[in-house]
Symmetry: D2
Subunit: 368 residues, 4 copies
């Protein structure tokens, strides 16, 4: 079975729905045509629990056909490379890679090498500034061991497909945690119709944040209701100093400018607020958004002086803001629902959120 | 009875509590020692429904003893003057005024004139850049009529006191709306203890935003449950194009630097997300924060070369982030609970949120 | 003779040229078709030396046809209102007004009232956030006396014309100073050709900054060569604490997006660096740029869902960057050359830069 | 002879001085006590012309004793990692590495591995986000060949010393170009006295930008005077699409906060403007500043709740702004003067700026 296939349950399988907008076919970031996701999951022995997740923003080469993009930082305790250039040009020019904190360099190098295979001019004539983001998996993973290799990066990039997206303990999310439960990769999507034209907003998160007591599921204080199932930490071991992070990738096929995509990113905090984030000090809450609408891309090899591109009138954006908020909240909860118990380095252990207890609590609060 | 006295009910009077941190004495921004609030409420005839709210950040003169401050913009469709200088210096040097969109000029001029009465050097030797913010009350108020005068500005500044703070249809909040109900001014506070030292985070909002269906009270979808009590708009009248805004003032006596205060501001989106904001296109979601800890202020007339000021270690900020999120959410809900039905220009009308139905819905969702 | 007519000499009249790009017809911001400038100059008795300058960005109403725009802050010790909304929407929706520091409120109020005369929907249906900027003229002007009235604001807005632009001691620049000489309003323009299509970049500055020793004219250290002609300050008087500021307005008819206009603004520092700015602590170095290309504007009353607008490919921007740098540097020097000796409040006095000595120094350094 | 020793001539050796402030002992960034610079220069065969430069911000470990820091972007067409965290925390927590565009990943990985050797808790308990910056050397260097290895990174970090700093074709600057001449590494410093206390501002640049015609030396249009000595490009070869970049590191021992250090960075544009930068589209003009004043650092392992740190009053910063402007301009010119002719990949060639002609031009313009 190929890795990138949905086999874990999802929030909606438990009867829980976030928001009111309809989802795309797969309720996944890949509902945006052309977006492809690849995971390289690295689980070896007792201590290696990490990986890489690759996001191809469009069906061809983002190096050649650069989509409008924006990066916004809600709390900056993390890394997302490429930010200065995305700010300046309003364009993405590489796939997006997500991995662990100490493997940013390897993912960056791997991305350059992979792109050079496709693009012979990268180096002697052109250059590219890749977008690589990270969260910290050092509680479950031997992060100092640098187990992500360039081959894993190639594997994530080469195996990427559309359709259903594997969630939970996969790719860059392999060793991540959410609200003191096991976390990881999650995804969701929403459809927005503007004058008979249907657009998709898709979100993928690598979720690794949250304080147990703050967890909200559709407004229900689930975290306060589940006081057991805490992280198990090996005796005599110091707790990692970092309390979490989340990388959010927002994709759309709606024609939006880089300024408008930045507006979408800034709604990320609203979505995270709805699941109970307080954006703690050590959390890198980093968002990147792109529009792969073909008519909005900039062709690197086109020498026309004037580009004429469409964009939605800003006064039409409210449903896209709502879609972004809903899809981010549901992506985090999908990561939480998909993730499975994991024991990692030194016997450290994180529990999955138990589905039956979640349903029971939702019933108690009048939601099921 | 002086205007600035609490006579309207509050969220906690209905048995509803937001979050888990304790509040200050008055559950108001004035729990931060030295902070004083003044309202000038202007209700005249059928069409004038507006006002000014003044926030004195400390007991003396902010012109002389400038407190560390920060301004952050979540959605910029509004005005907060003084932002460039607050960014550059990290200091506030005036009271903060909040009024309607078209009265920013009058409030600015009034603030300068009021400060000149206190500070003879303002003008010939020194200058000051005041902080004036606004939301739009043109649905209920004849906003084009410019009914705010310099006297109203002086009145708000001069009448300011500590202690309980009037909420709802008062001051700058007089003609404002929230989630399709009547809105206005709201306030709340939280206490944070760090190594036996207790600090206060106080919030005041002028709330004028929100889509009915999105309203959440402690996670309960109250807006979806109350489908009647809509705004009444006079026949043949066009609806105002602006859908809302919120001004948030965050005060604390904890020793925090301007960078740290900006971090507090950025948590505002989380608090707004918890009550159901999607930060719509036309919403000016603007936040200003200051610390009036005496040892953090900069004295304008002191010529020492080196300032030595304390600040909390950033790793101690998480409870302050939580306090900010909770106090913002509760301030918005306090504004909603305090506001009363209002009929304004052309017979336009907004209903108050009915308290009995709110309690009934909270019971239905297992919260009361 | 109408006020807005060029009667003072200019840098090029002295044989000095900045940069290599050609200028427009008038070497003025008004070379950008549609841009109109109006000055209201207020000189009364011994102590009133101030005014207002108005910039209409296009031939019609910026309220109805909003041009792409950007604001950038190089040193934020000053005020430019409207910044948050320009950031968020990337649009200008009012004329731009420039006045003294304490008259921002009056100019703001005046702008709203003037616009309401043109736009009956402003207030009941629409709102507008004007752009008002300032520099400090308290050395020569009785700034605390608030001598700018709403009538002066109307006068500047109503008298605006295209063609030659009065420079030096006019409008908002009346009481301003540059490098310890008299300063004020200056303007310049450059032409850029892209594939046979000619575009104009025009600049207008209200210049009020600089340390004598730092003044550079085309790289020549003129400030170090003129050690006399210092400001005369009345005995026993304290010097104002603020050391300067500059407001820069950049206009173009090239099709540029708000992101690209922000890039132009950021080149402002390069132009200021070339005349010797060190952007001192108290200097508000604030820039606003707009493109009034008709096909780039957003019509407020148009309800189309999709806007299709042209923009130059970013890789074509380098000559625009150079044009901006050159035109800013020349605008500052034009203000300096046009300004005339002025005695103001309490007998304080600023000298004009003497043209003969400037020419002599340029000769000494091999430039004439 | 150790690599990091000054053997090439400097601007002042030619009798040319920039600005008026005094320099430190070595007129180098290392005049700031504790700052150490290491170069790994990689010149192999006909085509390898690259390297790595390391900046240690203080004598001990920046991981343990984090100095206040800021990053600012003047034109963002480049990479500087770590920016989000430096923005959020206002602290640096690693050495700074500068290399070529495609070696950012290797330098990042190398930095992490080097730090892990010093800091056993990096990984299992703590994490670190390194600062790695780049400019593009693909005209002279086989940049796609990835000739920078982790060993080179270690070499640069381990060989770092105080004292004189090698300039020109060394370290990360090995294959870089300035104004169509050979460029590379340059450094300079200035002393500022505040109330009898002397502070140092030191700058190091990796300079790789500029259009020949724009080059200014102390205001003299040297670039327009030297029209020959152009880059030689191998026949049939396409010119690289990127036109330059500059990385600026600003160090000081003055007690400055992160906000104040950002103010220093923003003066970078003024210094670059004085040597003729127009900040072209493809230029990554990125600046990082830090203060290593011991009393301003944050100790990672200290658990005190309150930090009490000094900073200079902002009103004392003007000489620091001037020092920064002067030292940046002189650093760029030092890089230009130190660099030597270089032939690289495919026979591409860049000439050094000829010293005799520079002196001759300066004489012609009355400067020598």
């Amino acid at each position: 079975m190929p890795e990138n296939e949905q086999t874990t349950p999802r929030l909606r399988d438990l009867g829980i729905t976030i928001g009111t907008l309809p989802t795309g076919t797969h309720n996944a970031v890949t509902d945006v045509p052309g977006v492809r996701i690849g995971h390289s999951t690295i689980v070896e022995g007792d201590a290696v629990r990490t990986g890489v997740t690759a996001v191809h923003p469009l069906e061809g080469s983002a190096f050649s056909e650069m989509p409008p993009a924006a990066i916004q930082i809600l709390n900056g305790a993390g890394e997302i490379t490429g930010r200065s250039q995305v700010d300046e040009y309003g364009l993405l020019e590489s796939p997006i890679l997500i991995t662990n904190t100490l493997s940013v360099g390897t993912a960056h190098r791997g991305c350059i090498e992979w792109m050079r295979q496709q693009e012979p001019t990268l180096g002697p004539i052109h250059f590219s500034i890749p977008v690589v983001a990270e969260t910290y998996d050092g509680f479950l993973n031997d992060i100092g061991g640098q187990h992500v290799t360039i081959e894993h990066v190639f594997d994530a990039l080469d195996s990427a497909t559309g359709g259903p997206v594997a969630e939970g303990n996969v790719g860059g999310g392999t060793g991540m945690m959410l609200f003191g439960f096991k976390g990881g990769i999650g995804t969701s999507s929403r459809l927005v119709t503007v004058e008979d034209r249907e657009y998709t907003v898709g979100v993928l998160v690598q979720g690794n944040f949250g304080i147990r007591e703050h967890l909200l599921v559709d407004g229900v204080p689930v975290g306060r209701e589940i006081t057991d199932l805490r992280l198990f930490r090996a005796p005599q071991q110091e707790m990692p100093a970092r309390d979490g992070s989340i990388i959010v990738v927002i994709a759309t096929d709606a024609p939006l400018s880089d300024r408008q995509l930045a507006r979408l990113c800034r709604r990320g905090m609203l979505g995270l607020g709805q699941v109970g984030s307080t954006a703690t000090h050590g959390s890198g809450d980093l968002l990147v958004a792109f529009s792969n609408a073909p008519e909005c891309r900039v062709n690197r090899f086109d020498t026309s002086a004037v580009l004429t591109t469409p964009r939605l009138d800003d006064r039409r954006l409210d449903p896209f803001f709502q879609a972004t908020v809903e899809a981010i909240a549901e992506s985090v909860l999908n990561a939480l629902v998909a993730a499975e118990d994991m024991t990692g380095r030194d016997g450290n252990r994180a529990h999955a959120l138990p589905h039956d207890r979640l349903r029971e609590i939702m019933r108690k609060y009048g939601r099921l």
